[in-house]
Structure formats: structure tokens, C-alpha cells
Symmetry: D2
Subunit: 341 residues, 4 copies
């Protein structure tokens, strides 16, 4: 069988670097183009010295030239720009796997509220939310995949099955998350220089982060209700990689340990990247660094009648580029884990 | 005026090191003894090379010998042991400032549940909870001070005034905290070696941490109710020092931004170590490292009708040894900030 | 072709964890046993949670039982113990790839000076030094491979070709190295807990480190002289992984930039894990983390007539387990990079 | 006695922040102006949140307005700019303590080679090199103090006494140093963002760093020879603060352990910030963080006939702002340690 030909658009950030790392190891994909407006003409290793020796250079993001030579395009572009590229790529018959936020929200109004005008609103309906453990079937035939965000991946995966099974209320959900600094991208800005991040921990975008409507949308879908409102507070912690999310839920009368086990088993029985640790076992970002796993455990606190979920992912792998590759694998009928173990 | 003579008991951990750092800079205190059973006879600098050149050695914790030569004893001993030392020290007329957990809980039953048998239950009533911003008056005459724990300090300080003023409900309080690794003490154990902590973040003691009953007790006192039940989840983050606590509260009908400002002003108007940042401003552990400040801000999320407080302290200073010195200053009628700015 | 059956002895440290990570991804090797006296019977994931979900358990290091079912044994045991296991394994016809220091030194006297009595001195002659870029041919038929140490790998690889080509003197060689904390093993000891290593940098074993005679031996071999004496100072830096070595050499009259290029090209022209960056380009540990590459560059300082080499490896991969797999690949006629890219 | 009135010029970087931290604690100095062109009008706490609550704002660097109200000006300005400010300040009778490199080099040619044209070459002769342990007497009456650089401070302090006493040769001196990231200033540039520095170690400016001529100048002065040439290689390590320098020297026939002890005793007998640890004892950056100490030890390696010195300082304190305050104390006849312990 011939390999999938993959073009990576906007590959000069950390998600791009991680994508290349994964695709270079993928046995059924080949990289046919890596674009960067700013770095066009430069070898990839000039931007990412980790790839010294690799014979691959950035090209300008010339869609007509690239589209003819690829089956899939993975977009690691800023939001807004991603949608602009998606349109001609889709028209050219290329499957588009978008790591940006452009196609995650089903509500155009929500997109406007959090991101501004949408460059291609007609595509919103076409997109499938790229969280394979929740949308695997739809992804098999999707032309446009909107890969789930990093914080949403870490929180939706452990939470959605409990809401779907009616084991927890959609009221009073609290998500308290911490992310390593690559989560901010390869951004050259004062708050992200080493001496400002090392020996520092701080909350940011409290109750106003752009990943909030994404989580609310997907938890509502899971629960089968029109709307869920949650509290979400992200923090920056001095890690390179990793997200740790702690989620507080109110159990319903149907809640029991057996029901929890059952809910996860039903939803994730065959999911190769889910590591449900069981009751009382808690994850560590370290255990999933540079992997595509989402690892989580839970505790029931009878004292307050609350359920606490703790979940860890690598924000660049399962939270971005690994997920994109997983989605690509599913879309092209490959083993879901190819290139990811 | 002659200086306060201070004996430090159990000074071979990080709280002990921080105590010495602060006391050496204190202009109205002199260290008359530093005890360590294990290190008796050794110079302090052999255990803490930071003090190379300091002419001070550990002695055995011989209470009769030491009591005659000190006005205050600061106990940086493990719980259980602290209470055993407090008894003879108090009998000898020494003011006892205890950094351990032995005298923080008013309920003997709670102490038993979380720590085991109490060695000196009769002293529980005598102890004043050593959180100066809440108990300043009582501390002025206290013979036995139970310095507040690190997590409780970080969460009670921003939360208590809102409960006291009736601006937030005592129901549904969630405290999600992260601590640097010195919070675990100078403990030589696999989970704390560098490669296990660096690039790692993990929850632990979920819903079962020993600081939980302490927070619940003090929030109940603040609210004027018999009991408050909260969710508390601590995490370990790769910092040397610092605690970041994010606290979720449900506002009452009395809640307003003006009322919040007023509540903090009334409670903390003169408190030299409180930094209330105001609405929408969030703290950073880095801003308070190696200081005795507690820095916090808040946000009101109308979307979910929740209040989010974010608070930072240095766990070794305001969370332990700085607080002990602050309590000592108050007890001995010294300026509250002496040795701490 | 059937896969190589590999037994890993002493797999409960960081080198063992890295070995498993690499072997699990190796397409032509299968793990038939993983031993740990202390953890026998436990699943591997109980010791290394990174492998949660892996169906593999530690067994006791019973050589007769294991030898019949493996082609290669990789020893990640402490020195002394490794030699004891090598004897019966070799007798049983198993190829032994030893990560310990037991067979690196050709001189029994040097071994005694640095490590004590040797448990199997008769094997010293049989061993081939496991630095593939220097001993590839001999490794193809070696029954006993003594994998090079981490500091020696980082310093010998850039230095040996210059001495071999007569471009630098064997006099006055200075090696100043820094290692991440996994270099100390998974050791539970006060100097290695997080708060003692984070925000710390310190020299240790100055001029007396056990890797010194190993470097001197191999540089003497390269230069074709009976003895080379060097200064070697290792330091501990707050990284999980990585060694950075800075090496100072005195050039001979034959030295020129062309000659340097030529020397490296001749020695390493086909070496897949050598990244010679050229003149004036300096490596970064980050570029080689979790890879098997050795990356180095050089500068000639005409001001002092000195050559400075800077070299980086990952101490657990190229400095230990990756090198072991590379040696195994060579020994068994597999592609040298299998499992390592 | 009235306090010294101090103006801080260019206080918006890390050296400025450290200066303020130290001066605020100084009992015989008061800050009369803090300048920042860019931040004029803003409260200091807007740039350095650590100082929240401090009633102090940046002003424009208007020398005539400021000079009348200060006794000393500490310049934390970029090189070039510092000299431009020094001229009018000196004319106005203000004592100038410069943290930049503008007045460190006695040779105008060397300045030009490393920094470009000098804005005030006539002042070079007037300047006293601000390394108190070497120039204490001259500093007592200096109008213009050129505070020693961070790397030079860490290497000159342990090395100069041995050269001065003829115990080591001026030939073949090698200085291998590592600095925390604040050493690069509060610089917003890709190589300094957290994910590029964390888990990274790299050499830079190999054999071409601007601190090289400064070290060579001062070692030549110490040795009483016209010129010394050394190898100096700096590295960036993932620390906030701290410099570790490892120095290799060739002993002369006069070298002995007694002579070393004697040399340091003579030179540094009364120096309050020198911690000579003795033979075989090695320093740790952690022991001197946020202090003004220089801590060092040595080893003699008879195997190669080399002396190895290891030295640690905090680059922002003893390597910059602490040293400036120490120089100021000396110049104004205050206790040398005021504000620094």
C-alpha cells in the first residue's frame, strides 16, 4: 500500500515540531511539504535543531502547488488563518486536519465571542470534532477534522462518560487545570522567558479562557442537554510539557463505583490511548510526557458528596499533534496507534 | 531593650533553615539554642551549608537546660513530638510557638482521625491559632501559638473575610492547591528525588489531606457556623517554594465588588503582609517567594455565578517560619514586620 | 526472520526504564525477561507507571531459567554484580551487553583502584568496549560488550578523532562536564531530592570520578600512546537528562580546520548517531534529549592556541541504554538505528 | 547621621530589581530616584510585582533634576549608555557606581574590540575596578566605580590570590563557567523563553565572550605581568540565579596547601563575603543564592599536576547589584555588609 502523503502547514511552532517528530516515525505516512511563510527556503533543522541532518526544508504555503501532492493537510496555523487555508485545500480534495480552534465550536456566535469573525462559517457544519475517543465513527469519513484543544482533551475525556451515563450532574462542574509552558506556543514574550516562569506558578484567563466554550459544548453533547456551564481556571506551571486537570463533579443518585467502571469501559473499552487508573489512583504528567495517552483516576468524597477526577496528558502530543496523527490514522483506515507508540 | 532569647527546636528541616535565616536578620531576637537530636554537636553549617561561617551548633533537645535561657521556643518538630516538648516548656514559663500541627485543631476527635492519639490534649484549649491576620489580638497574650499550616494559610486568608461578611456561601467551597516540593519537608524518599519531580505534576492525598480539617475549622469560625465542608485537592509542582491556591465560592445575594473590597479592608486594613490585588488581578508565587506576603485577587463569573479567588504564599515563609516569627513579634510586642521585610 | 530474544537484568533504575522504552519500540527484538530481585513478581508498571497497561512483570534474576530463552542479555546492574551475572550467561551462550563499568577498563589495576576487587578478571580480555563509532568492527562478533560510560561517550567521541589524527596533543587535555540528575541513578539520597538539586549547580568527585580512567584509556588508544592523563571535573545540573562536555585541547602543528573536518569525516562518515556541527556551532542538550545522537562542534582560539570542543548527549540514551541497543543491533547484524530513531 | 541618597538609573531589568530589593532593606541609604525611560510615570510595582505596595515610581532619567538630590548614582544601564550618564553625574559631584561594562577595561583598544566606540574615554583612568576584595582601599575614595562583571567576579576572586602569590602559572588558565538565565538580563528573545532553556544546557560565545578581556586584565594585574591569556567558555544552565566557575591552573614549584591557605588568608582575611571552603570542599550555587557571598574550594590533582578551583556566586547579587551596594558602602564609609546580610 502506498503511504499517505502529508503536508504540514505552519510548522514552525512547538506543535509543528512535535508533528514532524511523530510523522518521521510513522511507517505509513510521508511528509510531502512543510510550510512556513517566515522560514520558507530554510532547512527544518535551522528552526528545530533537533532535526539536524534531516533533508527537509520549509516551503511557502502555496496551496495549489502543495495540494496536488498530498492526501492530508495538517494545519498547525493560528486560528483564523487555518480556516483560510482549509477552504482551498478541501476544494482540492485534500483531507484537512486542523489543530487550530477554527472549527471546534459549532456555534458561530460563540466563535465570534471568543475569537472574532469566522473566515469560513459555512465549513463549521462539515467539521468533525477531533477527539477520537468520542467521535471515532464520524472521523472515519470526515473531510475536515477540528482537533480538540489541549485543556478540553484533558477534561472532556474523563468527564464526558460520567455525564453521558447520568452519573454526575451538569451543574457545578469545576475544572482547575495547569499547563506546561509549551502550551503558550513558541511565543517570545516577557511572561514566558525562563526567569519569569521558573519558580513561578500563576492563574491566567480566569473564567475567560478560549477553551471554555469548547469544553461546555462537548460536555453538553455528552450529557444530551442544550447547555452546560462550568468554571474553568487554567494556570501556568514550570514544565515544558504536560497538562494536569482536576475536575470536581456532583454525583447523581445513579453514581456508584461500579457504574463509573462500567461507564468508562463502555466508552473507552477499546481506546488505545486511555489509561483509566481506577478509584483512588492519581495520574502524573510525567507518566504521559511525549506519549499520546490520557491518564486519569477518580475519588469519591462522601464527606462533601463530590467526585474528583484527575487527568494528565502531554499538551503537545495528545493535546495537539499526537491527536492530529491519531485522527489522520482513523480517517485513512490505518491502525489508530501507528506512529504513536 | 534586651533582645528576645529564642530557642529553635528541631531545626534540621527546611522550616528550620528558613527560621534561622529569618532570626539571624531579626534585630530584636537572638538565638540561644538550636536543637537537633540527630545533629547535636555539629555546626549548623554542616547541615545547612548556606550558613557557612556562622558560629552556631546544634545541641540536644534538653528542655531543662534550654528553658532557663530562652523567652520563646519555636518548635519545628514533627507532629506528636511537638506536643511532648510543649508541655515542659510551658511549665518552665517559655512562650511556645509551634509550627507543627499539634495544636491547630480544636477538636480532639478530628486530631485523632487525622493524626492519631494526642500527647497533650489538655493544652488544646490553651492554644491560639497562629494566623495573625485573623487572631492578632488573642496572639498578643498567647502562651501557646499553633502556627497555621501552609495550605490553610493560603486558602483561609482570602476566603474567611468573604464568609465572615456573608458574601459567599459555606456550601460548595472548592480549594485546588499546588505546592512546591519543600512543602514535603527535607524528606528523602523516591517521589521527591529530582527526576521524579522535575517535569512532573501530580495530585496527592485527594480529599484526604491533613490540612483539610484545619481549613474547615477556620472557615466555620469565620462564617459563624458549626461546620463547613469543603473539597480540597493538593498537587505537587516543580517549584522549590510557593503555594498557589485557587478557591471556588458561591456568592450570596449580598455579594458585590464593593462589598468584597469592604470586607477585605475591614479585616486586613492594617495587615502588613496582605496584598489584596483587587478584581481581575491574579497573583504569582514568584512575587512572594522568600517573603511573608499573602497575595490574592478574585474574579466574579456571572456566567456560572461563582467567585474565584487565587492566592499565593511562600510555603516556608508565610506558610511556616515567617508566620512563626510574625506570631512571635506580636506576642512580644515588637513591630509585626521585624525581621520579615 | 525471528526476533532477537532479549533479557534485561536489573531493570528497576532509569537505565532500565529507558531500555524498556527503546526495546518496546524495536521491531526485531522481543523482551523475554526483565529481572529485579527486589521487584520480582510485580508488574513493570508498578515500578515505572509510564508503562501502565504493559503486560510484563519482573522476575527474579535466575540465570539458568532465563538463559535458555534469550539470545542477548543486557545488564543494567550495579558494577561488581554485573560481572557475576556475565559469567554464567556467557557460559550459556548468551551474548552479554553490559551497561555497568565492569568490563570497560582493560587494566585490572585501574579497576581495583577505582572499583575494588574484580569478580571475573579473566573476562576483561574478552570484552569489547561498547562505543560503536570507535569499535564497530570488533562489536560485530563480540560475546561480551562493555558499553561506554556516559561522560566518556560525550568526551571520547569528539576528542578521539583529533588525537588519532595527530591534530591535538595528548598533553593538557581538560574535560569539564555537566550531567542531569538521572546520571546519579534512581538514587534516594538527600543530595538528589528536588529542593537540593533545583536552582543548584555543583561540582563533585573533582579529579577523582570513576569515569576518568575510562576516558584516559580510550584517548590513549586513539592517540596510539601508552598513557594519557587528563583533568576531568563533572558537575550536577538541574536537568533530568543530558550531558554537556566542554573539552580543551592543545593543537599540534598539523591542526587546521580542513584537517578537523577530514578527521571526523574519516572516522564518522557513516556513523548514524554522530552530528558534527562544524566550526563555531555549539550543541544543546535539548537537541538530543531522548535520542541516541552525540552532537558536537568546535572552536579554535588563536589567542591562546587552544581548541575547544563542545559535546552533548542524552545520558540515558546514547550514554547508556540507547548505546546498549545500538551495540546489540551491530552484534546481531541488524540495522544500527533499529529502535533508535 | 543622615542617610545616603541614592538614585538608581535604568532600573527595569533584573539587576535593577535586585538593587531595589537590597536598597529597600539598607538602613543607611534611601532611594531618591529610580529611572526608566520606558516606564517613567509607572509605579515600580507595575514592572516588578514583587514590590506591590511600595510607594515608588519610575521617573525619566533627567540628570540635572536628579543629581541635586542624590549622593550616589548606581547605573544599571546598558554599556555605552552608562558612560553617557556618568559624565554629567560626575560633573554634578555625584559618586557614580556603574554596573555596566563601560569602565571596567583599562585599555581603550580592548573596549573598542569588544564593545565599540567608548563615549567617555577620558573617564577610564578615573574609574576604580569595583571588586572590593581586590580594590578596597582605592574604592574608599573613588568617584567612579566600575563594578566587576559576574563571570569575572566568580573567577577572579579564587584565582587572583594564587597568581599574586606566585603559586600558579599565568599560562594555560582555563575558566569553564555556567550561568543562570537572569545573567542574560530580562531579555525577551527566543533562546531565553522557558521551553528553550528548561531541560537545556549549552555553551555560547565560546572563547569570544565580553567578560574575557576583563578577566585577563585583572589576572595580569594580580600576577604583576603585562598580559595573561586564558580560555573562557560560558554556558547557560536552567537556573534563575547563580554562576558556577571551574578554573584549571598549573601550579608552580612554590605551590603547597599551606601556601594556598596563606595566600587566601592574607588577601581575604577580613573580607566578609568570601567563603573559602578549603581543600577538597566544593561550593554549590544554592548555598549563595540571594546572598553576596563568593564561595570556593580547590583540589590539587597530582596525577596531572593541576589545580582545580570551583567557585559560586549569585550573578545578580555578588555578580551585580550586591557588589554595587558593597562598593557604595565602602565609598561612603559604612559597614561593608550593611543591607547585604
Amino acid at each position: 500500500m502506498s503511504k499517505i502523503r502529508v503536508a504540514v502547514f505552519g510548522a514552525s511552532g512547538y506543535a509543528g515540531e512535535e508533528l514532524l517528530r511523530l510523522l518521521l516515525r510513522h511507517r505509513q505516512a510521508e511528509i510531502t511539504a512543510v510550510t512556513s511563510r517566515q522560514n520558507a527556503g530554510k532547512p527544518v533543522s535551522a528552526v528545530f535543531p533537533r532535526f539536524t541532518g534531516l533533508d527537509l526544508s520549509f516551503v511557502a504555503p502555496d496551496v495549489p502547488a502543495i495540494a496536488g501532492n498530498c492526501d492530508a493537510a495538517i494545519l498547525a496555523l493560528p486560528h483564523g488563518l487555518a480556516a483560510e487555508f482549509a477552504v482551498p485545500l478541501l476544494e482540492a480534495g485534500v483531507k484537512v486536519i486542523d489543530i487550530s480552534a477554527d472549527f471546534r465550536l459549532r456555534s458561530l456566535a460563540k466563535y465570534r465571542e471568543y475569537y472574532g469573525e469566522h473566515p469560513a462559517p459555512e465549513l463549521l457544519k462539515k467539521a468533525v470534532y477531533g477527539l477520537p475517543e468520542r467521535y471515532r465513527e464520524a472521523l472515519r469519513t470526515a473531510d475536515l477534522v477540528a482537533c480538540a484543544g489541549c485543556y478540553p482533551t484533558s477534561s472532556i475525556l474523563p468527564t464526558a462518560p460520567l455525564l453521558a451515563a447520568g452519573l454526575a450532574s451538569t451543574e457545578g462542574v469545576v475544572v482547575c487545570s495547569c499547563s506546561g509552558v509549551t502550551g503558550a506556543g513558541r511565543k517570545v514574550d516577557l511572561p514566558y522567558i525562563f526567569p519569569e516562569c521558573n519558580e513561578s506558578m500563576r492563574a491566567y484567563s480566569v473564567t475567560a479562557h478560549r477553551h471554555l466554550p469548547e469544553m461546555e459544548q462537548e460536555l453538553a453533547v455528552a450529557a444530551g442537554v442544550p447547555e452546560v456551564r462550568i468554571n474553568f481556571v487554567p494556570h501556568l506551571v514550570p514544565l515544558n510539557r504536560g497538562i494536569n486537570s482536576t475536575i470536581f463533579l456532583t454525583p447523581t443518585s445513579k453514581f456508584s463505583d461500579e457504574a463509573v467502571e462500567q461507564a468508562y469501559k463502555e466508552q473507552y473499552g477499546n481506546a488505545p490511548f486511555i489509561r483509566f487508573l481506577g478509584k483512588g489512583k492519581m495520574p502524573d504528567t510525567k507518566h504521559v510526557t511525549m506519549t499520546n495517552f490520557c491518564e486519569f483516576g477518580y475519588t469519591f468524597d462522601k464527606h462533601t458528596n463530590r467526585v474528583v477526577l484527575c487527568s494528565c496528558i502531554d499538551n503537545l502530543t495528545k493535546g495537539a499533534s499526537g491527536q492530529a496523527v491519531q485522527n489522520m490514522n482513523i480517517r485513512f483506515g490505518l491502525p489508530e496507534t501507528e506512529g504513536l507508540l
